[in-house]
């Protein structure tokens, strides 16, 4: 008896797997791409807001993969000549550097009308802005119940604003902040005056308690009251505030940063990838993203769709009025030889 039911079960399994194979065959007959992002809550938010709706609208299958740091994998995949991934969502600097090193496809914007309609600063020959975050000045409301620091000049002013400070242990955005503290206007930063920035950083260095390395660490510092003010990513600060800590931040002189979409050189599903790229920056999909996570849409047209309520928009880094207060990071400068030299100089600065 037992063997018979076991046999039956076996047939059932066989039948099921044939059906499954048929389904898989049907799916692969339709167009598909492999899309890669950074995982976690961020990728989940995208799946709901952008990826699933895009797949439905285009009638394609989007296979997802995630990796915290895509750069080494991009290098190996393209280097092998047979990449598996098609579209990658990665910090814009990697798209540019990848483009320069022949790892990314040059985009034909006539096929990507949604991107072509975006401001030029929001795209490059190899990439399109996908979402925005900002390196902002965050502070403890316990230490500063009123008259809180509101600019990098305030952050540098240890007499007027006494308290413990933290900065990111990384030159990107930190050099920009130093130059703004020294009086450079947010829209006049590039090319960065690297010598001037490091000189200004030397000035604040003795007053920096912690040079943080991970976003989680920056959140912990603020949450535990270990520092009174710091540079941090807006999403991290709002998450800490949501949990009840008395912290806040200002977008004034924030450094607006982005991740972008780019297509790997020799991607297996090139045509579908281009179609997807256009769909992914569609204003309505883009407008849906901030409903699920504290990041701003990469396409500014998203704010004209009425999907994002005015109240919510005001919290987002790329909302036009907020964006106007900030400096837009030039990834082109950071991936230039001067940018790379500045990055290498950082280690020497930290160890002096």
């Amino acid at each position: 008896m037992k063997t018979i039911s076991g046999l039956k079960y076996g047939y059932l399994l066989l039948g099921a797997s044939i059906v499954a194979m048929g389904l898989a065959g049907a799916a692969s007959a339709a167009e598909q791409i492999t899309f890669v992002s950074q995982g976690g809550a961020y990728q989940q938010a995208q799946t709901v807001a952008i990826l699933d709706p895009s797949a439905k609208k285009l009638g394609i299958t989007i296979n997802q993969d995630s990796i915290p740091d895509a750069w080494p994998a991009i290098k190996t995949q393209v280097g092998s000549g047979k990449p598996i991934w098609d579209v990658v969502d990665t910090p814009t600097g990697y798209c540019l550097r990848g483009g320069e090193q022949g790892l990314m496809e040059k985009l034909d914007f006539s096929k990507i009308p949604n991107a072509a309609a975006m401001p030029e600063a929001y795209r490059s020959p190899y990439s399109v802005s996908y979402e925005f975050y900002s390196s902002v000045l965050a502070f403890s409301q316990k230490t500063f119940p009123k008259d809180a620091p509101n600019s990098w000049a305030d952050f540098w002013d240890v007499k007027k604003f006494p308290g413990r400070r933290a900065l990111r242990n990384h030159p990107i955005a930190t050099l920009e902040a130093a130059l703004m503290a020294d009086g450079v206007a947010p829209d006049k930063l590039y090319p960065l005056d690297v010598d001037r920035a490091f000189k200004k950083l030397e000035e604040i260095k003795p007053n920096i308690t912690v040079w943080w390395t991970s976003g989680a660490q920056s959140a912990q510092l603020l949450n535990d009251g270990e520092v009174d003010m710091e540079m941090a990513w807006n999403g991290r600060v709002s998450a800490v505030a949501k949990e009840g800590a008395k912290v806040a931040f200002t977008y004034n002189q924030g450094i607006l940063q982005s991740t972008s979409l780019c297509i790997l050189k020799g991607a297996p599903n090139m045509d579908t990838a281009v179609k997807f790229l256009n769909e992914a920056v569609d204003p309505v999909h883009q407008a849906n993203l901030p409903l699920h996570i504290d990041y701003g849409p990469g396409n500014p047209k998203a704010f004209e769709t009425n999907v994002i309520k005015a109240e919510r928009a005001a919290q987002l880094p790329s909302e036009p009025a907020n964006a106007a207060k900030q400096a837009l990071m030039s990834y082109a400068w950071w991936s230039s030889p001067q940018g790379e030299a500045a990055e290498k100089r950082w280690a020497a600065f930290m160890q002096k």
């Binding site: 080494p72 550097r97 413990r164 242990n169 535990d224 990055e343 290498k344 280690a347 930290m350 160890q351």
Partner: protein
């Protein structure tokens, strides 16, 4: 015999020899042979500073671990068996907690709003919180704590083998306890001291998470340079070269130590 050890040899080959070979290869080959990665280590003083700092911290940690560990091992050796099991259990207990968790635990103890500062302020001993973490001090404290078992266990094992009659013999010949300890017990325990110190020193050279989390960004140890070089130069060769130099320093230390005692004593117990 060969058939018995060959699986183990294969594992060693696959998991140690090949990766290390790959590491060395990457450090000298990038579009052709190059010593650029090593030239950088020799000429740029950040590498020199980082190596110096790493050796300084490792030395300090080793000395502190010895000062703290020796009495513990001595006590565990001197008390009756039941008590020594308890002492050793307490020494080994932290082993079962992840290094990351212990680093955060130290953060909770040492930071400005941490337990120690809160307590001292409650007692009115200090007005302003002390800077106990996000510096070299915090790094050293946590590292000593994590590496202490590696000091205590070899010490204890060595002390166990010192015959108790020797001390009694010394006493019968008129040596006071201090004298007997200094002339008999201490010299006999030196192989354990050397073994423990070597373990702690070498392990400390490669520490990463602890200085990263508790050093506040200023304490840049060599292992952190390895990870930073991957980011900075976008190729693994630059990082491999740093790792190779570190590996060579460790081998050099083992070589020097092996002139004094058998390596079996450092790595395992005989």
């Amino acid at each position: 015999m060969l058939a018995l050890v060959s699986p183990a040899l294969l594992v060693i080959l696959a998991l140690i020899v090949l990766p290390v070979g790959w590491l060395v290869w990457q450090s000298i080959y990038h579009d052709g042979f190059t010593l650029e990665n090593y030239r950088r280590i020799v000429t740029e003083d950040i590498y020199w500073r980082s190596f110096a700092l790493t050796f300084e911290i490792s030395l300090l940690v080793t000395v502190l671990a010895l000062l703290l560990g020796y009495p513990v091992a001595y006590l565990a050796n001197a008390v009756p068996r039941g008590w020594s099991v308890l002492i050793l259990a307490l020494v080994v207990l932290p082993f079962w907690t992840s290094v990351l968790v212990r680093a955060y635990a130290w953060l909770a103890l040492l930071q400005r709003t941490g337990v120690i500062n809160q307590f001292l302020r409650y007692l009115d001993v200090i007005g302003e919180p002390l800077a106990l973490v996000h510096n070299t001090f915090g790094t050293v404290v946590a590292t000593v704590h994590i590496l202490l078992p590696f000091m205590v266990l070899p010490l204890y094992a060595t002390m166990q083998k010192i015959p108790g009659d020797l001390m009694q013999a010394g006493a019968s010949l008129g040596a006071g306890p201090t004298h007997a300890f200094l002339r008999i017990f201490l010299p006999l325990s030196l192989p354990g001291v050397l073994a423990g110190c070597t373990m702690v020193f070498v392990l400390c050279l490669g520490f990463y998470i602890t200085p990263e989390l508790l050093g506040g960004g200023r304490t840049v140890m060599v292992s952190m340079l390895v990870s930073r070089n991957v980011e900075l130069y976008n190729q693994f060769g630059a990082a491999s070269a740093v790792a190779v130099v570190l590996l060579l320093s460790v081998l050099a230390i083992f070589f020097v130590v092996s002139r004094f005692i058998s390596l079996d004593r450092v790595l395992g117990q005989k």
